[in-house]
Amino acid sequence: MKKTARVILPGITALFLSIGASLGFAHHSFPVHFVPDGEVTVSGVVKSFRFANPHGVLELTVINEDGEEEAWRAETNSPSILRRRGWNRDSLSAGDEITITGWPARNDDNYMRIRSVTFADGSILATQRGQTLDQD
């Protein structure tokens, strides 16, 4: 049986590395719907923020390069996880000027999974381990 452990352990090491870099579990598939190695950043004004499982949802009004308004939506990972990382339903409010960075959706130009939110005063709210208050 020792042989099993030796055979499997390299895989386990990979597992632990992948866990450390986990992008956030979803009720829907993350790698199917988002680009894990992609990144998108937009700035705008919060229209609404809903903080409920399975995902928080942020609606953002963005002024694009042509000076036109664009409606963006962005989801968080589970609020159950985020509340232990310092988030709550009042973390974002309508009218807040923010910049959000995240993983772009594969099939929706104006949709992303949020990695971090930067407020006008420079403070940052992050969704991932190691980037903010983290009790996981």
Partner: protein
């Protein structure tokens, strides 16, 4: 009048019950709040020595989801391939799907905390993820017949082997196996081994699955949690309005 053979039977049953009670009394207490342990190096190697050599290790537990088309090297059956080809990923954004929980096969390795309540005849896993509650019968009963209702929690019977909790589960409904369009079937059979570290701060789990309806051979996963005294799970209270 009681015959000698009856006395022997009574003595045997009494000894068996007595030993079971002792085993339960001597069993580790795994009660409490456990949150996923993100380890840089593996610590639960002891359980791996008990994994069957033919059980293909699935490297996705704790949030490391596999991509579309990646099934961890499992050899899928025609049924599984057909179901995958018919799977509609856009349905995952529908209101109907949003609050549909996975089965214990999947939710046990999700990166959410859990609370365990341990009694002599029952061990209860209360999962934060989708508010799922899983009961492990420790009273020596067997699985019910095939006509017993299948569910996301399945039917689980457990026993202690030394300091390891061994749980045998059946009676699931078909549900996601890897969160990438590949579902396990209603006939999946899962055997789990839980083991707590000597200092009581870490809980390890290995799972071994057999599901010949959708894949050949056996597969396995591994998880680890750390104990957080005084913490509790929060209600998940899934809100379907996330769906479009």
């Amino acid at each position: 009048m009681i015959k000698p053979i009856q006395i022997r039977s009574i003595l045997f049953i009494s000894l068996l019950l007595s030993s079971m009670t002792m085993m339960a009394a001597d069993a580790p207490d795994i009660s409490g709040f456990w949150t996923v342990k993100f380890e840089q190096t593996p610590t639960g190697t002891e359980l791996f020595e008990k994994l069957p050599e033919d059980a293909l290790f699935i490297n996705d537990a704790g949030g490391g989801e596999l991509a579309e088309g990646d099934y961890g090297g499992l050899q899928l059956t025609e049924r599984a391939l057909r179901e995958i080809s018919e799977y509609d990923f856009e349905f995952e954004f529908s209101m109907a799907y949003t609050c549909m929980p996975p089965s214990a096969v999947f939710y046990m390795q999700a990166p959410f905390p859990m609370e365990i309540d341990q009694g002599r005849d029952l061990i209860v896993f209360r999962m934060e993820y989708f508010d799922m509650v899983r009961i492990i019968y420790m009273d020596g009963r067997d699985h019910p017949g095939e006509d017993y209702p299948h569910s996301k929690n399945g039917h689980s019977i457990g026993h202690w082997e030394g300091d390891e909790l061994v749980v045998d589960s059946t009676h699931f409904v078909a549900s996601t196996f890897m969160n990438n369009g590949f579902n396990h079937s209603e006939d999946i059979h899962m055997i789990e081994r839980f083991k707590m570290s000597e200092d009581g701060q870490t809980l390890w789990l290995t799972q071994v699955y057999e599901d010949p309806a959708v894949f050949a051979g056996r597969a396995s996963r591994y998880m680890a949690w750390r104990k957080v005294p005084g913490e509790h799970i929060y209600p998940y209270d899934c809100d379907p309005s996330f769906g479009r």
